[in-house]
């Protein structure tokens, strides 16, 4: 007769880069139930909106997350701009799209590396992060920051990219695609990776939808849902198709992210071709009043920025619903019934970003 025991997992754990705590109820080697708890890195960033004027708050909105920082800043700007009826120049929207897709590339490469590390495949981890440097170099050369870009502002963008640099970036991505293909080949075809990921952490299509999964977790369960289909920024003018997999397991989630990187490269190349000339920002006057929900697709899934203005330079409320918090209930469902040794892989497969999630 086996006995139930509770094993604490996290917030500090060798394979877990993020501070989430799970109480795993174990019977033999099987996880019966997982009880998540967060609250280790709360910083109170949303309250700061009352202390900083809305144009300066972009810097704080960007620092909600250290990986998908640009998209947080851009979504906040999008929310405030809609609230104030600001017409953002077309070129600024294209530049935002290009930087957003670069952010997605670097976030997915970071995740692939961490995932490989979680599986115990150290070489692959280093290879993924080596490739990521190419993306970070391009980001630094165009915005001035490797990870926190700081190039988005209410009413447009702060920096322009000249045509020669855009061409260089676009050509650089051709070579990058070849190297990426070698990396993705290992993730998707290597026998040891496949046997570690196939049929692990299965989340059915119904569960994914009913529990509110977003982003690659939802798309890996066969639901074609992607906030980029809304056509915000310049996505409406680009040919975008969401990447969907039917596998429902960790392998499918890995495959969605791997294939999304190719989609990002295509989007960047198309945006570079179509980018119009013109101004990159408009002067924003007035004070925001009213409320608005802005939605955007982050590497981890759909993010919602809610802003409420009260007719002053300070917003009354800013609320962010990050993708990780909605992916926790599906993760708990995936963990129920899995092997103890598969827990790190399953937790990492939702791409947890607890810093983002707690703010």
């Amino acid at each position: 007769m086996s006995k139930e025991i509770v094993i604490p997992f996290g917030p500090q754990h060798p394979v877990l880069p993020e501070p989430i705590h799970l109480d795993l109820v174990i019977e033999d080697e099987k996880v019966k139930e997982a009880l998540p708890s967060i609250g280790y890195v709360h910083r109170g960033l949303e309250t700061l909106v009352e202390k900083r004027e809305f144009p300066e708050y972009v810097y704080i909105a960007e620092r909600i997350c250290g990986i998908c920082s640009f998209i947080h800043g851009a979504t906040y700007c999008q929310a405030v701009e809609t609230l104030m009826n600001v017409e953002v120049p077309e070129r600024a929207l294209y530049l935002r799209t290009i930087w957003s897709e670069y952010s997605r590339l670097h976030s997915h490469l970071l995740w692939l590396g961490l995932f490989a590390d979680g599986m115990g495949f150290e070489n692959l981890f280093m290879d993924a992060w080596r490739l990521r440097e190419h993306v970070l170099d391009d980001l630094e050369a165009t915005t001035g920051g490797r990870v926190i870009q700081g190039s988005c502002k209410v009413g447009g963008v702060r920096r322009d990219i000249d045509a020669a640099k855009l061409d260089e970036m676009s050509n650089g991505l051709d070579g990058f695609r070849g190297e990426l293909a070698d990396l993705v080949d290992v993730f998707l075809n290597d026998s040891s990776v496949r046997s570690r990921l196939k049929n692990v952490g299965v989340l059915s299509k119904h569960d994914a939808y009913a529990d509110g999964a977003v982003g690659p977790v939802l798309r890996a369960s066969g639901v074609a849902s992607d906030a980029r289909m809304l056509g915000y920024a310049a996505y409406g003018n680009l040919h975008f198709k969401p990447v969907v997999e039917e596998g429902c397991d960790c392998y499918a989630r890995c495959a969605v992210r791997a294939k999304e990187m190719y989609a990002s490269i295509d989007l960047i190349k198309e945006a570079v071709q179509k980018i119009p000339d013109g101004p990159i920002e408009v002067k924003v006057t007035g004070k925001p009043d009213g409320e608005y929900f802005a939605r955007a697709e982050q590497p981890r899934g759909e993010v919602v920025h809610y802003v409420k203005g009260n007719g002053t330079r300070h917003l009354a409320r800013h609320r962010v619903r990050t993708p990780t918090i909605t992916n926790v209930p599906p993760m708990v469902k995936m963990l129920a019934g899995c092997e103890l040794a598969d827990v790190p892989v399953i937790v990492l497969s939702i791409d947890p970003c607890i810093g983002c999630c707690e703010r």
């Binding site: 704080i60 050369a141 926190i148 080949d185 290992v186 290597d190 026998s191």
Partner: protein, 134 residues
């Protein structure tokens, strides 16, 4: 089921050599617009305090009475906000990062040496009329 998927990468890595650079013997990669640290030209600063008011991290403290400009390097998150709002462009962004510091060393105090230029003496009423007629 495929095997030896890593073989190509392994061979490439063997022939290519290390992807990292030997920092600090070799300089780190820096672009002309990299945000490293904020520096001030104390001979230009008019102590208006815009940088202090706009700083999202409350890292800058300007004292008009004591004529000082202070930055806490550990609070500053190098967002470039102060450089953008400075009306006299006395703040600039250097591409080199600030060196590692302790809490006490991180507070950098700069004495402002700006001297307000004297206003040119008001021209006499008679001269003004002359200038107007000519």
């Amino acid at each position: 089921m495929a095997y030896f998927e890593m073989a190509k990468t392994v061979l490439k890595s063997v022939l290519h050599g290390p992807s990292t650079i030997r920092y600090p013997a070799q300089p780190a990669k820096i672009t002309p617009i990299s945000r490293g640290r904020v520096v001030i030209d104390p001979s230009q600063c008019i102590s208006c305090g815009m940088c202090m008011r706009k700083c999202p991290a409350d890292a800058i403290c300007v004292s008009r009475e004591e004529k000082t400009w202070e930055i806490d390097r550990l609070r500053c998150h190098v967002c470039n906000c102060c450089v953008e709002v400075c009306p006299v462009h006395c703040l600039t962004m250097e591409t080199q990062y600030s060196p590692a510091v302790t809490v006490r060393e991180g507070r950098e105090l700069v004495k402002i040496t700006y001297v307000k230029p004297e206003r040119p003496a008001k021209p006499d009423a008679g001269e003004k009329e002359q200038a107007g007629s000519s």
